[in-house]
Subunit: 224 residues, 2 copies
DNA sequence: CCATAATATGGACGGCGTACAGAAAGAAGT
DNA sequence: ACTTCTTTCTGTACGCCGTCCATATTATGG
């Protein structure tokens, strides 16, 4: 009972949860959500696959922690500044979220796959709701409106990256299928573009404009 | 060259593509998108797993066809009726889509996972865009607006079912994880509710109201 | 120096998608 | 009717996955 705190005894850990999440994020960026595997993570950090279960109880838990980390990494600076008009703040946050989602585009599948109930997720929803309340909404309407906004932001990126991932055709696609029958294959994670390094090239042109167009319309509707 | 048409020679097929998609849909409803497996489908229709590859070139192709079938099953009746005011038509379609998505809630992951480029998907987008054009939008704006609407509809269901699936805790969740460390597990497809039979119970209460609230606000914003 | 406790590893199990080779089963040509 | 051809189906196998069990490792507290 004399030890200062925390870990008392036993073999020291070889890595950290953060290192594991780093590896997971790397795999996510490199091959999409399906490419995140316990075995891959373990290989990357240099431990046996099952050793991961000392840090997280299951793969699902790893993914949940990854989502939390992702949400914790979005830049809230411009959003926190309560001097700015509320719309500007909301738009800044939406764009910031979008930027991060495009940079780690595999994350959107994870975001939409689980309930947004982690601390960072709740903080995000809450502060978004606050900003909308500053715009004159009742607290109840602000909560609803923040939900609508989150749905739009995540949904838009989901459809966008789905369209982006399309291109590639699977290398192993024999025409076992008889004669005609035009069912084709699409994505196959063959040389998935590591978006962390190419983020700028995608977003600038059409899609951000479309995204902002919808965002402002929605905000118009929410304000009235 | 004398045969009437279609299949000319060879061993007859044991099942049909539709039977395979039926089985896939059954698995989808029973265990979510992750529970759809080639082996499971094959077992259900009574063929060897690899025989499926005579009908579809890959699992991805099966899922794509499943999405198309899903979209083809939505009821367009009230939507097609050009006598109704455009807003009513759009709302009817949105609700119809929502109903189908809640009935087969595993489908939303598939919808958002791939590009919406199948025939039925394009038809949907196009006719939605038409209705919006009836509301006075320019064709360009109507296309953008229909995109926003689809994003909202799919995104809303995605977040909704994510929250629904949460509950269950994994049966195999030892506390290997040391001492505290509060990372829990969630979904585990253990007795996944077969939504086709329970569809009515979920949607009626809070969520449809919330959905409609957002929908009308968005339509307000799109109209202005 | 020993007991204890946390962590890491080796190995295995069952399940997945799917590739390959060969067997089955009708249709067409003689 | 027999043979050939064509398509589909099956047996088998490979590599990958998540995760469990038993065991070995390596610290700390007495």
């Amino acid at each position: 009972m004399a030890t200062p705190m925390g870990r008392r005894t036993g073999r020291p850990r070889a890595v950290t949860e953060q290192a594991i999440l780093d590896a997971a994020l790397w795999q996510l960026d490199g091959g999409g959500a399906d490419a995140v595997s316990i075995r891959g993570i373990a290989a990357q950090v240099g431990i046996a696959p099952n050793a991961v279960y000392t840090y997280f109880p299951s793969k699902a838990a790893v993914l949940r922690a990854l989502v939390e980390r992702f949400l914790g990494d979005v830049n809230h600076d411009r959003f926190i500044d309560r001097e700015l008009p509320w719309r500007e703040r909301v738009e800044a946050l939406a764009l910031e979220l979008r930027t991060h989602l495009v940079a780690h585009r595999g994350a959107v599948q994870l975001l939409l796959g689980g309930p947004m109930d982690g601390p960072n997720a709740l903080t995000l929803r809450e502060s978004l709701s606050e900003a909308l309340a500053d715009g004159g909404s009742t607290p109840d309407d602000a909560a609803r409106a923040s939900y609508v906004l989150l749905v739009y932001i995540f949904g838009a990126i989901a459809l966008e990256v789905a369209e982006l991932d399309q291109r590639r055709i699977a290398p192993t696609e024999r025409d076992r299928v008889s004669t005609r029958r035009a069912v084709l294959d699409t994505i196959s994670a063959e040389d998935y573009p590591r978006t962390t390094e190419t983020a700028g090239t995608i977003s600038k042109d059409f899609t951000t404009e479309q995204f902002l167009w919808g965002l402002t319309r929605i905000l118009n509707g929410l304000q009235a």
